[in-house]
């Protein structure tokens, strides 16, 4: 498995505005400072600060409606797509602000990829086209042989290659739900992101597919920083290095209650609310 990272071709950036340097390669650190979010006038998140170290898996846990998905979406500028959504604070990738800095929004999103709750392969594209769709969409150019290598390596990394290597020409939606989600992971990996955000990627999947995706997460986490939102405590314990517990009191914005190494959060939490949540007493 490890040699796959070496065979992954590096796409060359077609547009002249994007700067190719070491800053945009390999796992990157992501830092949130004092982030607050609003939907219209409703404040849903307040004072969130979090360090997501390069090459680590950070799990965001907490009950529904506590703002963890909203926070995740601020990390690659998806939050602003919701009409009326605003935010304050700073998000830094390798120390550069993604909102006020010089990085164009499309580059931010290419460097910080996202896997959604519901598998959403592009219906009008084949399995193979789906994998390399990010290149087309962001204007990256590759040769035919590079493209073929990229398809194989990304599908292998997502644990899907053996299942679909003879079905590359099938429509993306002909695959099963679990396969579609792994296809979406492969698609995200194809643009070589430095950070991968995952919003409850296994919530619609069966246990086997879930296990396969968790395996994928641990395999790719060396080369890409992962932030995962999950409602599954066991999953958080299995895949993450660090954990952040979000909670929103009634009619108040969500906050981070506690954050630290996953082991500490689950075995030795500082806050009683964290202890109650991870032991399934509420939420």
């Amino acid at each position: 498995m490890t040699d796959l990272q070496i065979t992954t071709p590096v796409p060359t950036v077609g547009s002249s505005t994007a700067v190719v340097d070491d800053e945009t390669r390999g796992a990157a650190g992501l830092t949130a400072k004092n982030v607050a979010c609003w939907f219209g006038t409703k404040k849903v998140l307040e004072g969130v600060g979090l360090d997501m170290a390069p090459g680590q898996v950070t799990a965001l846990i907490g009950p529904s409606g506590c703002g963890k998905s909203t926070f995740l979406r601020t990390l690659n500028r998806m939050h602003e797509l919701v009409p009326g959504a605003t935010l304050a604070g700073e998000i830094l990738i390798n120390g550069v602000d993604i909102y006020r800095g010089a990085i164009p929004v499309t580059d931010v999103r290419r460097r910080i990829g996202m896997v959604f709750q519901k598998p959403n392969p592009f219906p009008a594209m084949t399995v193979a086209e789906n994998v390399v769709s990010g290149l087309k969409l962001s204007g990256l150019k590759v040769t035919k042989s590079e493209r073929e290598d990229l398809i194989e390596s990304c599908l292998t990394k997502a644990g899907l290659w053996n299942e679909v290597k003879n079905r590359l020409g099938d429509p993306g939606r002909a695959l099963s739900g679990g396969q579609q989600q792994r296809l979406c992971i492969a698609r995200s990996l194809a643009v070589s992101p430095q950070v991968l955000l995952m919003d409850e990627p296994c919530s619609a999947l069966d246990p086997t597919s879930t296990r396969r995706i968790e395996q994928t997460i641990s395999e790719i986490s060396e080369s890409v920083t992962i932030v995962i939102v999950t409602h599954n405590m066991q999953q958080a314990q299995r895949v993450s290095d660090r954990c952040a517990f979000f909670l929103a009191a009634e009619n108040e914005p969500g906050r981070i209650i506690e954050e630290g190494p996953t082991k500490d959060i689950f075995t030795n939490p500082r806050d009683s609310r964290t202890e109650d949540y991870v032991n399934g007493r509420f939420g």
Partner: protein, 374 residues
């Protein structure tokens, strides 16, 4: 009862015989037939014996009303009120749908019946050049009108389809500040009477700008009618594309334009084809906007940019008012050919782009294989 059930299951489970799901049970059919007969008898009695009524339409209406009432009572007695309501709704919906199809079928059959006499191969190859007042209906043809219609509608779609889809993209994808007023304008445009579209082009393009009556002028008038249909339908179709796909594309670093052109439009391809079909259907039978703009002609004019042209609806409109039987017959043939033309165009459109986004055609497969994507 329980014993027989168990025994039946034990014997039948071993076979692969499929269960036949019946949507209509035989008792329902019996009730329907019985109700039909008894309501017929009652109507007959009312019309012939008791009441001073006459007339076929009233007879059918009374028969239908009695049929509904009797079958309602019968089903309620047998199955209860809930089932009776279900039955009644089913009967009303079925008869409503059948009634709606009747005029459609009648129109088609009537046009075929009137038009097929003069339908000869030369109708597609000849024009009216050598047709005199006493010529037989089978002499000459309407090729000039067919070519005119195809060219005018073709040019109108070249103008209206890109413009309409672009507008729909603006309304639904860009969601600019002008979206709301623009939508109102498009709605107002779809209410423009077709003769007004013709007058507008006549006043603005022919009189004010000094152009001739040409096929192109007709196309312009048609595109005024074409545009709002395509725009509104395309907008609805684009709205059906799940937002998750746009987000997925943007999250990969896609620009708005590439998200629209590579994800949204291909996903809604078959719906966009429907939008175009509806637009074509809106204009292909239009006569009024063409009267002032194309001028009408009896001979072939291949050039839509110069000289008067004819079109099939206009051809029908002119010829049907002649006193000669032969000209009237030709007009009906023109109407029949117009219907055939519409049918052919729609079949072609469906074959080209009507399948769902999952469908991978032969051409696409070949292209994908060349790129190493299949």
């Amino acid at each position: 009862m329980a014993l027989t059930l168990r025994r039946r299951r034990a014997t039948e489970v071993t076979t692969d015989e499929k269960i036949r799901i019946r949507s209509v049970e035989s008792i329902d059919v019996t009730v329907m037939i019985g109700s039909a007969i008894s309501s017929f008898a009652l109507t007959q009695l009312l019309y012939e014996t008791f009441l001073p009524l006459s007339g076929a339409l009233g007879y059918i209406v009374v028969w239908y009303a009695l049929f509904l009432a009797i079958s309602w009572i019968a089903v309620r007695e047998l199955r209860g009120t809930v089932r009776a309501k279900d039955h009644l709704a089913r009967v009303v919906v079925w008869s409503g749908a059948s009634l709606a199809i009747v005029p459609l079928v009648l129109i088609v059959l009537y046009v075929i019946g009137k038009g097929y006499h003069a339908l000869r191969p030369q109708f597609f190859t000849q024009d009216q050049r050598y047709v005199g007042a006493l010529s037989d209906a089978t002499e000459g043809g309407g090729s000039h009108a067919i070519i005119g219609t195809i060219q005018q509608v073709g040019i109108a779609s070249l103008i209206a389809v890109p413009l309409g889809i672009t507008t729909a993209v603006y309304l639904n994808e860009v969601k600019g500040r002008l979206a709301k007023p623009l939508r109102t304008v498009v709605d107002a445009m779809s209410a423009v009477p077709s003769i007004v579209a013709g007058l507008f082009i006549y006043a603005a393009w022919i009189l004010a700008l000094g152009n001739q009556q040409t096929g192109l002028a007709g196309s312009l008038a048609l595109s005024v009618l074409f545009l709002p249909t395509v725009t509104r339908t395309a907008e609805v179709v684009l709205r059906l594309v799940p937002g998750g796909l746009r987000e997925a594309s943007l999250a990969l670093g896609g620009t708005e334009w590439r998200t629209t052109s590579r994800v949204v439009l291909p996903t809604s391809r078959s719906g966009l084809v429907t939008a175009v079909i509806l637009g074509v259907a809106r204009v292909i039978g239009e006569t009024a906007p063409l009267i002032l703009t194309v001028g009408g002609a009896f001979i072939m004019n291949w050039n839509p940019l110069s000289g008067k042209q004819d079109s099939l609806p206009f051809f029908v409109f002119r010829l049907i008012r002649f006193p000669q039987e032969s000209q009237i017959a030709r007009a009906w043939t023109g109407a029949l050919v117009l219907m055939i033309l519409v049918l052919v165009l729609f079949v072609i459109a469906r074959a080209i782009g009507g399948r769902g986004p999952d469908h991978i055609g032969r051409l696409k497969k070949w292209r994908l294989q060349r790129k190493g994507l299949a």
